[in-house]
Symmetry: C2
């Protein structure tokens, strides 16, 4: 079995959300699984000097127009949340907690959290709401809620983010096919060709 696609994402990233709805089918067409890697983009932004897209003059206005248009283009439901952007430590830690218990169930949790935020307007930065979402897909609610404040999970997320930045991750979504990096849902066509041909 070839190695899974490494899918790095931040829960506050709308393009990460759109990509989360597409990555599994893309991977499956080439016999690959998806390894879900939650990221804190704010930490990477300290390295690159970037700001959240929507806050940048000109680019911000364009992004607010491009995100819903891209959602329609990709056929993914989207309703921009009332609170945006958000801090994403809580859902990220719950994903890392879940990954220890059931790596195969990670995708279901990630997609449920993303949809809660980008479709149902639920503020998943709130640990209680993030734990509710985890419970709705069958996880233990108390365990998920406790994970948000657990020192071990805080440490695991810090290491996860540091490792991602060390690999060159600076945006969301950011996908590795073996060691080949692809930034953005815009690169899915290139990912597809890379998977099909090995290189190009």
């Amino acid at each position: 079995m070839p190695s899974p696609l490494q899918f790095h994402f931040d829960f506050s990233s709308p393009y990460g959300y759109l990509a989360s709805e597409k990555i599994e089918a893309l991977a499956a067409r080439y016999g690959r699984a998806v390894d879900w890697r939650p990221m804190l983009l704010g930490v990477a932004f300290k390295t690159t000097g970037a700001q959240p897209l929507t806050m940048i003059p000109l680019k911000g206005a364009y992004t607010k127009h491009d995100v819903p248009r891209s959602a329609r283009f990709h056929g993914v439901p989207l309703r921009m949340p009332a609170k945006f952007p958000i801090a994403t430590q809580a859902p990220a830690r719950i994903v890392l907690w879940q990954r220890e218990r059931d790596p195969g169930g990670c995708g279901t949790l990630v997609k449920a959290l993303y949809r809660a935020y980008f479709v149902a307007n639920r503020d998943i930065s709130d640990p209680d709401i993030a734990a509710d979402v985890a419970a709705e897909i069958g996880a233990n609610r108390e365990g998920a809620r406790a994970a948000v404040d657990a020192a071990a999970l805080k440490d695991a997320l810090r290491k996860e983010v540091e490792a991602a930045i060390a690999k060159g991750v600076f945006g969301s979504p950011f996908v590795f096919v073996d060691d080949e990096p692809f930034w953005g849902i815009d690169r899915f066509a290139q990912i597809e060709r890379w998977l099909a041909e090995g290189t190009f």
Copy 2:
């Protein structure tokens, strides 16, 4: 005849170069022409606070990898120039000069200048070299060379750049289909659907 696609670009932008090799065929499939609009990205960067991509930590290294990979993906020849980035006032003014004389020939000149820089490693920031390229596609060499220093063309380029920024242009390539904005060669699939369906 529907209105032409507005194609905004900077001669120092490798993604703008790749797009310049693709935009005419895309437009022609939907009975459209291309209106070539040279841009000075550095002026827009003052508004957005952006830097040249290759100079940004992490993103710079990725871009240096992504540009040649994207060229291969799109089947466009590319050899990164020894001097990069460059100031692009000289070729931009020659394009504006040419547009006054022969609007229909603009695409030939833009593509010749882009290829001179991104394939043949010729420094088109040098007014003499930019004028040489114009002469090679049949323009009057002395006229092209004089355009670089002409007050009227300096003024025309300043207005062109200001008008582009006022329309929201902050990157290269940047395409308008009627009034709909699309940033990047990554949006060509969306441009194609927009041209086919009128909206989506």
